[in-house]
Symmetry: C2
Subunit: 259 residues, 2 copies
């Protein structure tokens, strides 16, 4: 069965989508079979991988609320070994609609833990979460084996981390006892900027080995890539951004092989 | 009565909080009486203005859900002429709690349009919205005269703009017929970066005069200021960031005096 990783942080704009797309692409590049689930009504992961609006007839919304078969919502992307369940703005009503369902936090887990999952042959599933600790993000945490936390090297981003850790602990205590922290990855890191260095020091001091050694530098090629509907790994394969996501992928694999 | 402006954009990390704090501070600096309402469970506006956790006993949560008097939740900040209604993570349950109230989209409006509002003497009220088009953000739009939209000079940020405009149109049609767009302000603008120039061109072509002439440059002093619990205007008064927010404030005032 595949390992399921929720990419989550309620702080906005910290690199959840960028990390989901590029870590997934880096793992696909070395032959791992990867599925992304776009759980954000903004649909940025879907857009960043070139899924046009006309291919988003069946999406994560239908998967969660209309009991559609997983097979009918999975789309291939232009990246070999990388598939996605796309999202549209319809997903923004999912929160309220799920609320009336008694099993509301277990809906996504129910879908992903279905018998036939091993038939797809995925090694890893990454869930791109919206910037909130709402029912969608809780569903992702309940459905996952671990949570990967992108941490922007900025003050406000650090401020929200303790709340995120509390929420993970609550989910572990109430709905998913095996939930672990996959790791915290520093994003948009600028080694010339004092604030970045302070945030790194602070994170490593408080979180120790939870913080990946690999850091993702601020790199304009990373932010240009989505406008070309590609991961930075194919948009500019030799950029610092692409290389840092390859490093993160090999560290991620190393941590998972050891386990 | 004060003019009420919602600072909103469902895309995360585009500069909603930074613009709320610094535009408010720039207006306060020239003698306008300003109130900020922190409507984000992250409480970043409250933190950025130095409101310690022990001063957040009564917050926006109580204002919306426990019918507490506005007077008892307004706090002064270290910035002269600038007050705030702070927020805590309690606010994250407001969405679901408001949902059962028939007047759910009108709750904040009811609080702000109360008789005694003119007694406070505020010229402007700015509402810092969370990164979502949820019930909290809708409440802000229904309560406001206009919406100020920070637009990060990045591809994903542009992608979400049409959805935001649709939502504003919907709110105008169903709950607040006078709702206008205050303007779109380009944030984290880097004139050496091609992507920024393309986003600016695209925005001015499609939105014309809705786009403020003033642009906020990416400026490290802006992102350092919150860790010192100050607006950039007091943290580094001569920085490009501080100056650009003063320019934005005078353009904002000019637009409002003409009206
Ligand atoms: N390493 C990087 N270097 C430069 N720009 C980056 C980097 N990582 C992300 N970005 C840009 O920063 C912005 C925010 O990143 P992204 O959208 O991935 O964050 P997010 O956490 O998914 O946001 P949201 O909270 O809205 O879902 C995007 O415009 C993205 O292109
Ligand atoms: N002009 C700027 N130059 C440099 N950094 C900036 C600038 N504006 C904002 N930032 C930084 O970018 C990050 C995102 O900004 P901010 O938190 O204000 O966005 P937001 O839209 O309020 O985010 P959220 O969606 O989480 O509420 C913050 O760390 C902030 O300090
Ligand atoms: Mg995202
Ligand atoms: Mg904010």
């Amino acid at each position: 069965n595949p390992k399921i990783v929720a990419v989550a942080n309620q702080k906005g704009g910290v690199g959840k989508t960028t990390t989901t797309i590029n870590l997934a692409a880096a793992l696909a590049e070395i032959g791992k079979q990867i599925l992304i689930i776009d759980l954000d009504p903004q649909g940025n992961s879907s857009t960043g991988l070139g899924i046009q609006p006309d291919r988003r007839q069946l999406t994560t919304f239908e998967l969660l609320l209309e009991d559609i078969d997983l097979k009918s919502v999975i789309l291939e992307t232009d990246v070999e070994n990388l598939s996605i369940v796309p999202a549209t703005v319809d997903l923004s009503s999912a929160d309220i609609e799920l609320y009336t369902n008694e099993k509301r936090v277990f809906v996504l887990r129910g879908v992903l833990k279905q018998q036939s999952m091993s038939e797809f042959g995925f090694d890893f599933i990454f869930i791109d979460c919206p910037p909130s600790l709402n029912l969608l993000t809780i569903n992702a945490m309940v459905a996952s084996n671990s949570v990967l936390i992108p941490l922007q090297s900025e003050f406000f981003a650090l401020e929200g981390l303790s709340q995120l850790m509390l929420t993970i602990r609550e989910v572990r205590a109430t709905a998913n006892k095996d939930l672990r922290i996959e790791g915290v990855v520093l994003t948009m890191f600028d080694s010339r900027n004092n604030l970045s260095l302070l945030i790194e020091e602070d994170a490593r001091e408080n979180l120790g080995d939870l913080v990946f050694k690999s850091k993702i530098p601020r790199n304009v090629r990373v932010s240009e890539a989505p406008s070309h509907s590609k991961p930075v790994l194919s948009y500019d394969p030799i950029s610092k951004g692409a290389q840092s996501y390859r490093d993160l992928a090999s560290e991620f694999l190393k941590n998972n092989q050891r386990a």
